[in-house]
Amino acid sequence: MIKRIGTYSPFRPSPITMFFSYIILGLWSIFVLFTIYWLVITAFKTPANVDNGPRFLPFVDYQPTLDAWRYMLIDSGDSVVRPYFNTIVIGLWSSVFALILGASTSYALTRFTYRPKWGLIGLFVLCVVLAIILVAVGIPWYMALIVALAIYFLLALTIGRRFKKALGNSDIAFWLVSQRMLPPVIVILPIYIMFQQLHLLNTHLGLIIAYTAANLPLAVWFLRDYFQTIPIELEESAFIDGATRYQVLWRIILPLSMPGLVATFLIVLVFAWNEYTMALFLTGADTQTMPLLVVAQNATRGPQWWNISVLVTMMIAPIVILAIILERYIAKGILVGAVKG
């Protein structure tokens, strides 16, 4: 479908076209940048500068200060620094895991053929339902789990061979990617209960696991299409030289798909960095992330714009800088996924 990626001009712009193009592009840039500009300058205002009507230009109509920064970062103890640290830890680790899992899944889906049988899937779902009913009746969850799994394997081994209708790789991929359609609110309550049983609530690990699962569909979606573009001949020659699957994946596929990996990593990181709903349910005071802090401050210090601006500026700065540096990769990474759908 794509014949050439590169810059070209379908229309050679005449001066008038250029003039109007710049006006429209300029207006949108102002729409985008002014909002961010307002955020950043508000972070350097004193309460008086905010409350006495709008001030637009630092050094001209007001004197910027670091008061708000000092207040939020030093005077408030670690109530800001800790969520920041949490966000970094959770964001990075969950993105790394999502990338590893996404890469291995995508590789498996592009290089092996799977034929899961409809009947076995139906059986499995029935056994899960059975486990849920058992728990609802009052049996401890681990007992229910063991019983359900035992029944599943028993049935799969005995009547499993009779099932004929099977699915293919693209069905598995679609199933994985379609998890993105689930609104977080629908799955978060059971995850909350599950994490409570496993003592994962209010831990970094809990949120890392949740984000990895939420990001996996995205990673599979982008990377699968990327891996499909890598010629299989490269791998075949490696196999002849005696390499294993894992070596091929590690030494050949991953280095070749670097741009795709970078784009996927950034997109996944942005999601984990900005996510609010799951964090709200799964974290406590110690593991709070930045979006939660912003919301909490918004509720308690509603009118204190200068303080909240500091928080939001701190929060978006690393991502915005990364986005500026990696802009080219993002466009390419998203496009590969989008074109093939």
Partner: protein, 384 residues
């Protein structure tokens, strides 16, 4: 371990053969080792919760002494939303539709029935397809009536369902056309292209929570940057977030601000992928710009367009952070989306009701995605 392998018959093999043996066993396991972790994670953290949620939506949750109890109540939670105590906040309060509204509705339903008629006449007719289409037409007409009577009707108040639909349909439409327009402008040979690309990308990277706060500042009538303008226009005391319609517009602007970049960046990449030779050939043949766009460029970007619209459609239904911060769902419930209502219900420990809303949302998302893929997308692809 070392000693054991010495005794085993494998010790008769040479070192290389042993490695080859091991390698082939490793390779045989690879097809499961590489795929199963992802499948298990999705099963445990998506499919299993989905089923549990279904059960929760049929039950009521109460705190009792020493823990909590979950009682099965059947369809009660859903009944409450559709016709019971929560009908007002979920479906809204219908009002008297003005004449113009009835006319619009009639045109919409007429078009639907005409499409249905076309399907009955076509050769692709099947019982299953027929039933699905009738259901789709009835549901879409009902939603259109609900939207009109709660939004435009006199004394009508939109509920979470209509608010969500407004944000989804309004937001995605605006984002698509703005994104396409900006992308078309940037396919020209303009100096400073890269600057615009980077700037246009930025909002996508900012957290929705932060954007809620940003637009809260921008729309403040007294301290916001536009307050001098409002004062000059004699609107000094008008609060932008104070009335339902303007609050919804504010949320919509915030959403457009954030997600236009997504459309823009993908459409730009797709537009730049259109082959230069075809464009030059058609220009040589004397096509004007409009023809060029209609017959050459637009058909080439339609497949990508349908995909980005589908992605945004699915994601837009989940909107929660932006209205939560910007308006808190208010004034009243005029910007409360379905996810936000589910969250509010959860906070008041109405877990069953929360799960029921979440499930209805899932049904609506799936329905919309299916309608889009089967009816709209197919039509667009044929059009291309």
């Amino acid at each position: 371990m070392q000693a054991k392998t010495e005794i085993a018959p494998q010790s008769l093999l040479t070192q290389e053969e042993r490695i080859a043996n091991f390698t082939s066993r490793l390779d045989a396991s690879a097809r499961y080792v590489l795929l199963l972790p992802a499948v298990i994670i999705v099963l445990v953290l998506a499919i299993f919760p989905l089923l549990v949620s279904l059960y929760l939506s049929f039950s009521s949750f109460k705190f009792v002494k020493g823990g909590f109890s979950i009682d099965f109540v059947g369809l009660l939670n859903y009944a409450k939303l559709i016709s019971g105590s929560e009908q007002r906040s979920f479906l809204g309060k219908p009002g008297a539709i003005p004449v113009l509204g009835w006319a619009l509705l009639a045109i919409f339903v007429g078009m639907m029935i005409y499409m249905l008629y076309g399907y009955f006449r076509s050769s692709a007719f099947s019982i299953f397809g027929c039933i699905m289409r009738v259901i789709s037409v009835v549901l879409a007409s009902a939603l259109a009536w609900l939207t009109l009577s709660t939004l435009a009707g006199q004394d009508g108040l939109p509920g979470a369902l209509v608010v969500t639909l407004v944000f989804v349909i309004g937001g995605v439409t605006l984002q698509y056309f703005l994104g396409l327009g900006l992308a078309l402008l940037l396919t020209q040979n303009l100096p400073g292209k890269r600057f615009f690309r980077v700037v246009f990308l930025l909002p996508m990277m900012i957290t929705p929570v932060g954007i809620g706060f940003l637009f809260k500042m921008m729309t403040d009538a007294l301290k916001g940057p536009f307050s001098p303008l409002l004062l000059a226009a004699g609107l000094g005391n008008v609060s932008f977030l104070g009335s339902g319609d303007t609050a919804r517009i504010a949320v919509l602007i915030g959403d457009v601000w954030q997600w236009t970049p997504f459309m823009f960046i993908i459409l730009l990449a797709a537009l730049e992928g259109v082959s230069r030779e075809i464009i030059e050939a058609s220009l040589v043949d004397g096509a004007n710009r409009l023809q060029l766009f209609r017959h050459i460029i637009f058909p080439e970007v339609i497949p990508v367009s349908t995909t980005v619209i589908l992605i945004r459609l699915i994601e837009a239904f989940k909107i929660i952070d932006l209205p939560n911060i910007l308006t808190g769902g208010g004034p009243g419930t005029s910007t409360t989306t379905m996810t936000l209502q589910a969250y509010i219900d959860w906070r008041s420990l109405n877990l069953g009701g929360s799960a029921a809303i979440a499930y209805l949302l899932l049904i609506i998302v799936t329905f919309s995605a299916l309608v889009f893929v089967n009816f709209i997308r197919r039509r667009l692809l044929e059009f291309a």
